[in-house]
Point group: C2
Chain length 203, copies 2
């Protein structure tokens, strides 16, 4: 059985990566959506183990020391990371895995995983990004400005990604993510082993 | 305006690449389907300038000498090639171009064009390929066997392609080609120039 595809969906805060991933997983219940660990406080409505695993800073530092994280990063005074165990297990079972993580975390995964697919999500333009950050209404204007300037700093890192997904309309953005995944599964390096067997190809 | 995408669709004789390309162009009339030049005889129903430009061997050799072909190859005693002019014109106008050509011809294009997308079309397995070659009923069993063994020789060349498109059901194969094209258009190297302008990204 061939391994699952690791799909890393990232982009600046406010790009809409969380919504896209949630909708993608609704359409594809067989996909494993990795749940991140964080030390930040839950926002209204967020549930432990569903949106994030919420940890204290002391607990999080323990996971780092025990090498239980695929990647981790510090961002706005909080820690974010990806528990390693479940991701590897799902991939080995042949399930695709979606990681929705912030920009630096994605690059850390890249240095550890060969063959993942890296998708950078962006709103159509900077004004839309600002509007979306404000529309959330859970942050003060100061936090919005901090996130905006952070976003602009993160943009050059998109050069390390495979795809840029413009998130204008949610439905179409999810369609686009589906197209990326399907295309990756047709990529020759991914198909070649199976095909060599079916067609008995000799070098 | 950004240039169009060069989509090179190839694969062994009988893989169904012609049918896929025709159906793709029906769905996307804005795409330019390059018409090949050949010296082989027209099959029943084939029209000059639609399915192929039919030339004599002398005429074809003249085009080679005048550097009017993007690629050319000899196959089963006949010449096949791609007139250069129309392809370059369409790409410069921002139109996507589909080249449906045989396997060696595609590799010759690859050596001249940077940035094209190379799709290798295959039936699900060798038995289906043999059935399809026979089903055409325009060839003798000797020609079928010649094409079959040629197909098996060509398979290792798939290692030079970007994607392998399994042609089981036509409708789904065309959907898959659409997904490949869309994914390529979201690929970061292709998007980066536009995005640097929209987002004023500094290095």
């Amino acid at each position: 059985m061939s391994k699952g595809l690791l799909i890393v969906v990232s982009g600046p805060s406010g790009a809409g990566k969380g919504t896209i991933c949630a909708e993608y997983c609704k359409r594809h219940p067989e996909v494993f959506l990795s749940v991140s660990a964080t030390t930040r406080s839950p926002r209204p409505g967020e549930q432990d183990g569903v949106h994030y695993f919420f940890y204290s800073k002391e607990e999080f530092k323990g996971m780092i020391e025990n090498n239980e994280l695929l990647e981790w990063a510090q961002y706005c005074e909080n820690f974010y990371g990806t528990p390693k165990k479940y991701v590897e297990q799902a991939l080995n079972e042949g399930r695709d895995v979606i990681l929705e993580i912030e920009v630096q975390g994605a690059l850390n995964v890249q240095s550890r995983f060969a063959g993942g697919t890296y998708v950078f999500v962006l709103p159509p333009d900077p004004d839309v990004l600002a509007d979306r950050l404000r529309g959330r209404q859970t942050e003060t204007e100061e936090v919005v400005q901090k996130r905006l300037s952070r976003a602009m700093e993160e943009l050059p890192l998109m050069s390390h990604y495979d795809y840029v997904l413009e998130n204008d309309q949610l439905e179409e953005a999810v369609n686009d993510l589906e197209r990326i995944v399907r295309a990756e599964k047709m990529s020759r390096p991914r198909r070649i082993e199976d095909l060599e067997q079916i067609w008995k190809i000799k070098e």
